[in-house]
Symmetry: C2
Subunit: 120 residues, 2 copies
Amino acid sequence: MRQDELYSELMRGSLDLLVLSTLRDGPKYGYLIQQTLRDESGQRIRMQAGSLYPILHRLEEEKLVKASWDSTTGRRRKWYELTAAGRKHLQHRATQWRDYVQCLQGLLQPILDGLPQPAT
Amino acid sequence: MRQDELYSELMRGSLDLLVLSTLRDGPKYGYLIQQTLRDESGQRIRMQAGSLYPILHRLEEEKLVKASWDSTTGRRRKWYELTAAGRKHLQHRATQWRDYVQCLQGLLQPILDGLPQPAT
DNA sequence: AGCAATGTATCGAGTGGCTATACATAATCT
DNA sequence: AGATTATGTATAGCCACTCGATACATTGCT
């Protein structure tokens, strides 16, 4: 656990999905992927660098992303972008995730009903 | 992977949540938990015995479920039921899951839009 | 008698996330 | 100028976990 009240546990099954989804609109480098997840989730999804980079390397090895170093700036940056296969994979996994959520919803709804609403 | 087109990957982060949720209406034994998940998910969620029993033992150790052997029938059955702490834990995890889903929804919606609808 | 379903359990292999650590550059503060 | 913080990528090792295979016993069916 750790990380106080974050989603570390739940993220286990969808880490690659999280990473791939941040690349949907174009290339990003690792640190920027972290920031994107953090910001777009209202500071709730925090992916550790030690988790992120191994995932990126694996995705690269699986030809789902393509990487290239940025040599123009003094700062070393490795940009990742979806390959065609990567985009297809992302769509497949996203669809699968939506279906899985629907499955769980049925099981959890009776529990969630009768519970106080979350702070919106 | 394996298991063809099931949710093995996605389930990784929510296996204990799945198990606990089947106990919400009363005690069940392992095999029955498997059947419940399978049936209530339209045959899509299949938890292997090799995954289920270690989880149940861990939950028991964590005092989230209480187990007792059924001695009346010839068939060995170990019934599990939620403890007070277990029910609280379940509610907490269910809430957390709902919030996490909402986070991901935002990231995935643009990808899911423009994709063919699933077979309902 | 033979086979499938029911029922619990464990082991070994493979995977995979996370903490800690390392290293380097740019920007900001004092 | 020196120190600290933010930016940026990467790896090693520990730990936890999932799953397929396997084992064993009972019940029901043919």
